[in-house]
Subunit: 155 residues, 4 copies
Amino acid sequence: MSKPFAIRPIKQTDFAGWLPLWDGYNTFYGRTGPTALPAEITQTTWRRFFDAYEPVHALVAESDGKLLGLAHYLFHRSTIQLEPSCYLQDLFTDQAARGMGVGRALIEATYHAAAQAGCQRVYWQTHETNATAMQLYDKVAQKSGFVVYRKLLAG
Amino acid sequence: MSKPFAIRPIKQTDFAGWLPLWDGYNTFYGRTGPTALPAEITQTTWRRFFDAYEPVHALVAESDGKLLGLAHYLFHRSTIQLEPSCYLQDLFTDQAARGMGVGRALIEATYHAAAQAGCQRVYWQTHETNATAMQLYDKVAQKSGFVVYRKLLAG
Amino acid sequence: MSKPFAIRPIKQTDFAGWLPLWDGYNTFYGRTGPTALPAEITQTTWRRFFDAYEPVHALVAESDGKLLGLAHYLFHRSTIQLEPSCYLQDLFTDQAARGMGVGRALIEATYHAAAQAGCQRVYWQTHETNATAMQLYDKVAQKSGFVVYRKLLAG
Amino acid sequence: MSKPFAIRPIKQTDFAGWLPLWDGYNTFYGRTGPTALPAEITQTTWRRFFDAYEPVHALVAESDGKLLGLAHYLFHRSTIQLEPSCYLQDLFTDQAARGMGVGRALIEATYHAAAQAGCQRVYWQTHETNATAMQLYDKVAQKSGFVVYRKLLAG
């Protein structure tokens, strides 16, 4: 049986609970050890969640005072909409809390927040090999058929 | 033999030359006739190019006073970077000017603008069936392996 | 005896009640008749209240389903703070609702919203001849001693 | 006779020349010793000058490779304009370079940049007791008659 949990916006006092989730998420994407995300970025991103000028937001799943998962989303302009697009950049559930519906609840809370903010769409990216995640994503969204190209610029 | 062309930032006086390119681009993506982009969006996007507060920019390729192509890019926050990401949202070359290197020059000018603006990366999306475009993209960037999910929210 | 009223964020359905207040406010500042604010600006500002990407916000005072006053505030960068500054740009109470504390309540709700948003300060401007307004302002804030210079640029 | 100088946008390599000017400016406003601006703010503001997402900009006056003055301006929304307002937040000339027209040239370069960016107005604040500065300001702009109120919020 699953423990009940609640989704809510992040708070300044969540740092200690949020950091291990953020680290776990970054580790999953290979940002660990020598390629770890610099502490300055973690600090800046954290500050942006609480900066009224920055359209960067975070939700957390909480149960019994413990954080089980995170979702970070941000708004940005689009040339084909009056309203901003909502990009769900990060989604992570603690290993011990998998299978309880935490990820799905975080996605749906992001939908709700984006709709409240007047957005018409939420999008995210996942790696084409991430079959586990896609099992969930195929239930709550559409695979767009679009793939991402990127270019790293010389410093 | 190819005509020479130049890439430069868009100007207020380019509207009449830009609009057919923008319409051609939207038509390519099926936004035509009953599903055409509302004029209000075109007007708003155009204004945003010249709004110092909006991180939305446009480049055009010009030859003999005629516009041959467009690139629209915008900056947005990222949770894993101090610097903004640069999203190349729209790229289009007039049918009559294909094969001259206009698309490639627009992409490279976007790289240059993004680097000048302190960005570490430029990214864009293309449909997985767009083999023609990918011939070029594979030469100037990396296919990231990421695919895009999206959810349209109820109005 | 004063009617009770409540302060709350503006909603999409408030347009008809907000517009006369906005018009009254603009008239007070001489933006009426030939110098009236263009309708396009009113429309754009209204839309910005509900655009998650724009740091422009509105509060209204409501009593018995009728809007009595408005406050518009926005966040912007400052070179001497990590956090954004909060600029209370517009404040207006309907003539018929003066003396009930509506203006003061709107200012205090702006303080609350700014503090929630992590701001350290709220500021606004008033004309040096507006003695009536300053009676209130001197109670709820400090006259900074700073005066405003401006330059209108040639179109 | 005055040395010639040039006004130009700030560059990453200007830090060592800009910092003493910034310190001099802050000292003038009493931000020194125990009330000095935290180094983190200086660092963040410096980074914002080069962040394409932040509408915060800097100009410097240079002569013989030495920086003589600075102007920091930023764009922010306004409820009564489609275009952003341009706020000239900081202006400073090195003591040794006073009387050469550096301040005036920095203001005029800000006008030019704001006009290029589509703005209709530039504004700034000065203390009502700063008679020296106002001698210049009265020549290049209009005293608006508006005074600034502010409220410091409890941390």
